[in-house]
Symmetry: C2
Subunit: 222 residues, 2 copies
């Protein structure tokens, strides 16, 4: 699903963030001070990486986070098994990595979070309208699960049913009025619910939840 052009352009025009396009992913970084924390973020199936610029721009600006939004391989494999450092290499100055994803991308992110052999080590997991497909055996891993009350794919019931697959300390944030497509700027999606908040409102809620999660004391323990 293609990215909404205006939403992406607004981020490209934002002087507080820089956007660079690499083979492995789109890198969204602060033009001000970087926090040293990065997020490898995996889009939902067939969603354009640029659809997530608006999702993360506020957090990048406010917290200094760097985000690598992964690009699919040329021949869209149905399930991407490239190792984590394929993507982290796009932002070599980051020294602490989280993984995350939207929709099916979150299922893949859970696998990165689970795999103790990952290089670099994973310091946290961020799910947007998503869930893990099997139990995470990483009881200490900080996890943030942001869901939408109107999500017709990752429904509130689905989020609740799969909550037990995540560590006991997981932070769950349900955004009132957000749909599955509220987590990216790519238009409506079959099977989804109807959002009752604007994209800007959804982005503000996502930014608030992510910024809290990234505040010192949660993911960042130093």
């Amino acid at each position: 699903m293609p990215a909404d052009r205006d939403a992406a352009q607004a981020v490209l025009d934002n002087p507080a963030v820089s956007v660079s396009d690499t083979a492995a992913g789109v890198v969204l970084a602060p033009t001000g001070e970087a926090s040293g924390t990065g997020l490898v973020f995996i889009p939902g199936a067939k969603v354009d990486p640029y659809a997530y610029l608006a999702t993360f721009a506020g957090t990048v600006e406010q917290t200094g986070l760097t985000v690598v939004i992964t690009k699919p391989t040329l021949n869209l494999a149905f399930f991407d098994l490239r190792p984590l450092d394929t993507f982290t290499a796009a932002a070599p100055d980051v020294d602490r990595w989280l993984v995350g994803g939207h929709s099916l991308g979150g299922v893949r992110a859970c696998m990165f979070a689970q795999d103790a052999n990952d290089e670099p080590e994973v310091s946290g997991l961020v799910l947007l309208g998503s869930y893990c497909a099997s139990a995470l055996e990483t009881p200490e891993l900080p996890v943030l699960s942001i869901s939408g009350s109107e999500d017709g794919l990752s429904t509130p019931a689905k989020i609740e049913d799969t909550a037990g697959l995540l560590p006991a300390g997981t932070t769950f944030v349900q955004i009132e009025g957000a749909s599955h497509a509220s987590f990216g700027a790519y238009g409506a999606q079959p099977g989804d619910g109807v959002p009752t908040i604007s994209p800007a409102e959804a982005e503000a809620e996502i930014t608030a939840a992510l910024s809290d999660f990234l505040a010192p004391g949660t993911v960042i323990v130093d």
Copy 2:
């Protein structure tokens, strides 16, 4: 992707097999003697279950296999976490179950194969143009991986790269001339290669590989 109507109709008209539609899946069973072996088969993402009737009709007829081709839930969840007995309940007379899938459906089938808590127990795994997303820790499980030389999604390189995730005794069959879409009757698919064999030829090869796999001594040890 919708099923090819003529291919499905030919199976519906075949007196050697019966097709019944249940809430959980489409059940393809022999009208002659059933072997007692069943396969829960998970379609590729957004592929109509009826696209796989022609894929399995020959094996059902020749070996007495029963196949439950799973249907997605009403709101197409991006990743289906319903337990295995959701589907096996559609064919209660089967006493030995295999799991399998095409494309992303195979990734889900691997998870069923991995999960020791499944009810019923899984006796084998069948992958069509697919692979597991993490290593199967079931060294004794019989696994059949059928791939296509012209598959542009689960490419021969991808099958080779992920071979080590499967048990050492896995049977690999590459069908010369088959594409990703040769494993179902649903037309062409973006990113796929161009098949150089007919659907009937692909089905005959799939039937031969599956029938060998299901012969006494492999999956069926009694």
